[in-house]
Amino acid sequence: MNPPLANFSKKITGVLCGITSNGAFCVKGRYQGLQRRLLVILLLIGILPLSVMASLSFIEYRALLRDETNTNARLSAESARQTIEAYLQKLTTAIQIISDAYPFQELANQERLDKVFTKLNQDFFGVVDLSVIGPDGIQQAYSGPFNLVGKNYLTSEWYTRTLAKKMYISEVFMGYRHVPHFVIAVGKMMTEGQGHWVLRASIDTEKLDRFMSSIYSEVVTDVFLVNQSGELQNSSRHYGKVNDHFLLPDIPPMRPIRLEEKKGAGSTLFAFGHVEHTPWIVVLELQAYAGKNSWIAFKSQVLWLFGVCITLVIILAFRVARHVAMTVRSADDERNRILAQTEHTNKLASVGRLAAGVAHEINNPLAIINEKAGLMKDLLEHTNEFIYKEKFLKQLTSLQGAVDRSRTITHRLLGFARRMDVKFEPVQINDVIHEVLGFLTKEASYHNIEITEELQLDLPLVKSDRGQLQQVFLNIINNAIDAVGRDGDIKISSFLMNPNHLQVDIVDNGPGMPPEVLSKIFEPFFTTKTGKETQGTGLGLSITYGLVKKLGGEVFVDSTVGSGSTFTLVFPIIANDRGDALQ
């Protein structure tokens, strides 16, 4: 929209706002509420699927990572168990072969035993000693770093169990040497059938530690053996030394590897597996999925991406909500403006109909008064002089003057209400202005008012009613002359406002009007001309407004107290059907 027109449009909207309502539609909060609701809906639409997607990705990836970690943990635990079992199996087999190959008497020979021990020690690292215990439980021969010959093991648990099972691998214990070790013992029946003798090998747990250390990896942070009651069978990185207690969960005595996740800051996974033919449980401590770099990286990426998306959604939702609220608001403003204009037009029409009715009814009694006063005056004029004759004549003249004034009002009212046919024809608006000025220039010069014209020469023709256009310009320029009073200027300019409209400005440097007057200027019966000579009916500008609307145009007024007023008329170059529709 053209800036001046927009400015005027704003003003007229303000005027109409004042006319039509108590400000009910000027509610800023209503649009803020709409904006808030839209924002919430858009945020829900944007954030909800995003959150669901992020959560699903999160859950899926976690499950995948957890499965992978668990599988790896099982594999590592199984590998560790098999390594230990293989070592023990070989050692046990070797001891059994020795016990089968040599009879008790031969092995009880110290020299023979030393030879066998030397050979065994060469093949199996970690074997500390080898001893032969007779059927009476007393050690008959011993090959190793200590002198344990003659020791009685009859009441020892390992001895009892060996006799019961014929082959026994003990838990780790300190023994007479006070060194952590375990034994592998094989029970054999005496050739004479008098009880059992036992061949026993002691193995330091150092050997176990070496096995365990080979299992450590990036994800396996600790490996150790515990017995069924949780006592450590070798050294652990994190849970202490031999015989220290490890809080063991309930592990059923079954072959499959059992996994337990310890939640918390460390996020640790434990794998447990029974070692066959031993009282041991191998325990692996692994890094759980939650502690893995890939999971931490994934989490931070998802969170970062989610944050960026949420920020974008918030920005977009805010902008869209604001835009929609603004659009609704401007649409409402436009609708209210049109409603206000329609109301204003209807008001004018109602007032017009009322005015016509009143004028008709008043005209008849006015005519009676006029005729009776006229007759009295006529008769007096044909009567001889008498004392009050002049006074009567003066009173009757005054009475007729009052009737004349009333008649002027009623006739204008009828002119205001009258729906004359509009005859549209091509009209050069500058010619109409010239014709009107032809009537008014003399009047203006009499009041020492200078009228200047700035009319664009090549203006296109408008399709309008010449007579009614004359009436419009006559009313407005007459008003300007009345407003200026004496010694002032009136400037009339015409120009092409846009390809479809032309504009005529009538600017005076009169006293101007305050906003409260400006808001009522097109109201019927509103007048500021209260002087005796210049008294107005308050219909001139109402009629002008109606005529301009009928011709499909717009009229705006802008005024500043002390500076003057500007009437702006906008006419369509090609008249639409509006003028016809209003007839």
């Binding site: 008849n364 005519a367 005729e371 009776k372 008769l379 009333s406 006739h411």
Partner: protein, 129 residues
């Protein structure tokens, strides 16, 4: 010279009577009627008006119908409607039926006299033809 005869047809006797007297003072010969039927009674006498000053809204026939009736009786008779109920449509319809002029109440006596004279001249010319 014969005086111009003017018949005032108006149900508002308070208006018709003083107007009649004022026109008489201005050298017109006048008669008044309060409705179209009353006027027709008058026309059936020997007194034939040159000009009729006719109201629009009256009991019985309205002004436009009365105009048509008068024109049937005497096509040369000129009629001026003087009414408080101004309307372009009525004016145009009246002209179509042979109305001479249409004035809005209250009317200036000088203006009315001028229009009556003009109407009388027109009638005189018509009668000469």
């Amino acid at each position: 010279m014969n005086k111009t005869k003017v018949m005032i047809v108006d149900d508002e006797i308070e208006f018709a009577q003083p107007l009649s007297e004022r026109l008489t003072l201005r050298n017109f010969e006048t008669q008044t009627a309060i409705c179209a039927e009353d006027a027709m009674t008058l026309l059936r006498t020997n007194w034939q008006p040159d000009v009729v000053v006719l109201d629009l809204r009256m009991p019985g026939l309205d002004g436009l119908d009365a105009l048509s009736l008068f024109k049937q009786v005497d096509p040369a008779m000129e009629v001026i409607i003087v009414s408080g109920h101004g309307s372009t449509t009525v004016g145009i319809e009246g002209m179509r039926r042979g109305l001479f002029d249409y004035l809005l109440k209250p009317v200036e006596i000088d203006e009315l006299v001028e229009r009556i004279k003009a109407a009388a001249e027109k009638r005189a010319l018509a009668l000469q033809k």
